[in-house]
Amino acid sequence: MSTDDLTDDLTRNTANAPPELLTRSFFFLCAVLSIFVTIGIIGLLVTEAAKFFSITAPLMGVEGPTASVVDFLTGTEWIINNEQFGVLALVTSTLMVTFGSALIALPLGVGTAIYLSEYADPQLRAVLKPALEILAGIPTVVYGFFALIYITPALRVVFPSIGTFNLLSASIVVGIMIIPMVASISEDAMSAVPDDLRQAGYGMGATKFEVSTGIVVPAALSGILSSFILALSRAIGETMAVTVAAGAQAKFHNPFNPAAYLDGGSPMTATMVNLLTGDVTGGGLAYRSLFAIGLTLFVITFAMNVISELIAQRYREEY
């Protein structure tokens, strides 16, 4: 080939050839869609919730009944028919389920992670990991049904006063549901601990127990913490299991009173489901309260995800 041809060839623009442009723009649109989803969620929740509160409703040009922000955030009664919207009645139930499930999932999840990353041989891992994944793959409505039909009657043997709908059974199933999340993220963090550290421990004559608890767990601590927060955020947002198991009666509980677990409650998510399957008329105050709860829920879970991400970033930088 002559050099002129070569020069022509080199300057031929391939990056903007039609197939390239077309595919690149399509892929870019797909990626950007996620931003629009976020904007959509936030925009929708904020505008609808704004119509709910009396401070912002006039700005949105909404007339008719509204609710006060202060009452919403500090009220302890949630009675739709009386137009009493005290979100604390829901938040306390959510917190109790979250706390109760944490009591189950966090220790068991970390134990599972240590076992999988430090003790189990590869063959056993190959069986245990998919089995754990199945725990997370069972639909949540099934867990709710299990809690209602099998776990509550079993608990009644121990606690005769337990209600048909109760927070205890809801906590148990939510706890089981989030074990795999704690386990898999914590295990990732533990596997990321460099082998040198373990070797150093064994070289000092430490036992496997001492290496696991004294070296691996502390080294993976930020990863474990981030898994905790993520799992708790998942528990807060968990819907169907608590809807079926915990009931629909919004009640303010003292979260520090263990006896309250035997009683029913209506966590935020369950309230939203019940609002829609019950007496919501489109566009009314009850309909808007849905978005007010949704916003509260979104803000809480979003904050927790961000915190967990920040912590996880720290551990990624460590190694």
Binding site: A15, A17, P18, E20, L22, T23, R24, F27, F28, C30, A31, V32, L33, S34, I35, V37, T38, I41, L44, L45, L108, T112, Y115, Y119, A120, A126, L128, P130, L132, E133, L135, G137, I138, P139, T140, V141, V142, F146, I149, Y150, I176, A183, T207, K208, T213, L230, R234, G237, E238, T239, T243, V244, M272, V273, L276, T277, G294, T301, F302, E309
Partner: protein, 542 residues
């Protein structure tokens, strides 16, 4: 003294206590098994409620124990001890049969209730004609510019599918208005039969040579074509289900078994396991019938699978919900797969490392953590209130669920794309390939199994979801059949929920709900195991 020192050292070696460590080890094992064990117990309970094995005659149990359980267990035990590979092959075959039977059921529901075979055939043809044109044009790519080809192909697709009003009727319409219409099973044989035998042929060609492949393909097609003459008299099923069963279950299973038997002689003996299970079940059935033993009064039966909802637990069925779940799954897959893979490709292969990219990145992992009810609110507010779509339809439900699983699909696809070795990219770019050529020829084929695994898991999540469907206003009970995108949606988990909450009587708790749970869990376990098997194979390869 030196000797004393030495002996005290020697004693010292045994002094580090292992007690705490041993206790700790078993505690860890217990915590690992706790969740699995609890779930297993609960599943046994619910299966017991749904199937009621104890209502059967003891003779029934004994018969099946002797014909089915004992021989299978004995063979499996023997194989486990002597030839693990054969056992694996046998269990894979059984798994394939179960999964493909489930799949045939789904396909059969679609063709019987939703999609008339003629319409399906018309659209397959309407797609095939412009596709052939596209390939022909691709061959001549040097004479024609990309833009010309693109316009011609796009126009051909549009005309073929929708027609130009008043000028040219679409191929789809043309076929449907044809004066002579072949029987349904002929149409299905021509489409499904071809779809099943073509990959079988290429699989066989990969093992032996092209001629064998062609022979196997023709044989498979012949088997599918013969099925409507065998199915109705022998098994008492219609011609359409026969063709579906032949092309979705029989051909792939036989291909898998045959292929493995030819390539892995050592594992051949494993075929005993499925043979014993199928043969034992048939023999047991015949024996039980002749001896007059009554089987269990299972709530999971044909009636439950094929009836509509009813106010009485005994008559309630899951049929509309099963169909709704299938339609939802198709919609969700069609919406989330291309967008999810596209976004993953952009982020892994195209995106420059800048602030927008990092923002999208963080944004996606945050979206993955947003509770499903909030997605339900998004569906309600966006599709129903803002866009004015009718509430509770399959389209709105599918779109909402697609948004819900989009971040999961993106994240798992990104992992699969990232696991493509960098040498492959280097080789392709080094040859002067453009981005898209590299993606199309090197990255996508290599990452595809991983992407598929992630998508199946995400789809499993989608069809297990209830809350978003409630939020978008899906009806609690559905008597009529969902047959198109704009019909009201029902889904298996939603039906189970409404039985457990609106018909909260003991009869429903004891009968319909456990039966529904068993079906739902079976479908999800099947999907999960497909994904896990796929992933294991894929990880072995790489």
């Amino acid at each position: 003294m030196a000797t004393q020192d030495r002996s005290s050292y020697a004693e010292g070696f045994g002094q580090v206590s292992r007690t705490v460590g041993t206790v700790f080890r078993y505690l860890l094992l217990a915590s690992t098994l706790f969740g699995i064990a609890v779930l297993a117990i609960l599943l046994v309970y619910v299966a017991n409620d749904a199937v009621q094995p104890l209502t059967a005659d003891p003779g029934w149990h004994l018969t099946f124990f002797l014909t089915l359980v004992l021989p299978t267990l004995a063979t499996a035990g023997y194989l486990a001890a002597t030839n693990l590979e054969a056992l694996k092959f046998g269990s894979m075959t059984i798994g394939l049969i179960v999964v493909s039977l489930l799949f045939s059921g789904g396909v059969a529901i679609i063709f019987i209730e939703v999609l008339a075979p003629l319409v399906w055939f018309a659209y397959v043809l309407a797609f095939a004609v412009p596709t052939v044109l596209m390939i022909a044009l691709q061959r001549r790519s040097r004479q024609l510019s990309f833009l010309t080809r693109f316009v011609v192909v796009a126009l051909a697709f549009y005309t073929s599918l929708f027609g130009l009003p008043g000028v040219v009727p679409s191929v789809a319409a043309l076929v449907q208005s044809a004066p002579f219409v072949p029987l349904d099973w002929v149409l299905l044989t021509l489409t499904l039969g071809l779809f099943a035998s073509a990959p079988t042929a290429s699989y066989a060609a990969g093992i032996r040579d092209r001629r064998t492949g062609l022979g196997v393909g023709v044989l498979a097609l012949a088997a599918v074509a013969a099925s409507p003459f065998i199915g109705p008299p022998v098994f008492g099923i219609g011609t359409v289900p026969s063709v579906i069963l032949a092309s979705v279950t029989v051909v792939p299973t036989v291909a898998f078994v045959g292929g493995t038997a030819v390539t892995r002689e050592h594992a051949r003996i494993g075929i005993l396991v499925p043979l014993l299970i199928v043969g034992g079940a048939l023999a047991g059935e015949v024996l039980v019938d002749t001896l007059g033993y009554a089987g269990p009064q299972s709530w999971v039966d044909w009636q439950f699978l094929t009836s509509d909802h009813s106010g009485t637990a005994e008559d309630a069925g899951l049929y509309p919900a099963i169909a709704g779940s299938i339609l939802l799954m198709v919609t969700v897959a069609a919406l989330s797969f291309p967008v999810g893979v596209g976004a993953a490709l952009y982020l892994e292969e195209y995106a420059p490392d800048n602030r927008i990219t990092r923002f999208i990145d963080v944004n996606i992992s945050n979206l993955a953590g947003v509770p499903s009810v909030v997605y339900g609110l998004l569906g309600l507010g966006l599709f129903v209130t803002q866009l004015g779509r009718p509430s509770g339809t399959i389209f709105v439900g599918g779109a909402t669920l697609a948004l819900l699983i989009l971040p999961i699909v993106i994240i798992s696809s990104r992992e699969a794309i990232r696991s493509v070795p960098d040498e492959m990219r280097q080789a392709s770019y080094g040859m002067g390939a453009t981005k898209w050529q590299t993606v199309k020829n090197v990255i996508l084929p290599r990452a595809f199994p991983g992407i598929l695994t992630g998508t199946i898991l995400a789809l499993g999540r989608a069809i297990g979801e209830t809350a978003p469907l409630i939020m978008i206003g899906a009806p609690n009970v559905l008597f009529s059949f969902p047959s198109e995108l704009s019909s009201k949606v029902s889904a298996m988990p939603l039906q189970v929920y409404s039985w457990a909450s609106y018909f909260a009587t003991d009869a429903f708790y004891e009968k319909a709900v456990p039966a529904g749970v068993v079906i739902l869990v079976t479908v999800l376990l099947a999907m999960n195991s497909i994904a896990i098997v796929l992933r294991n194979r894929y990880e072995q390869e790489t």
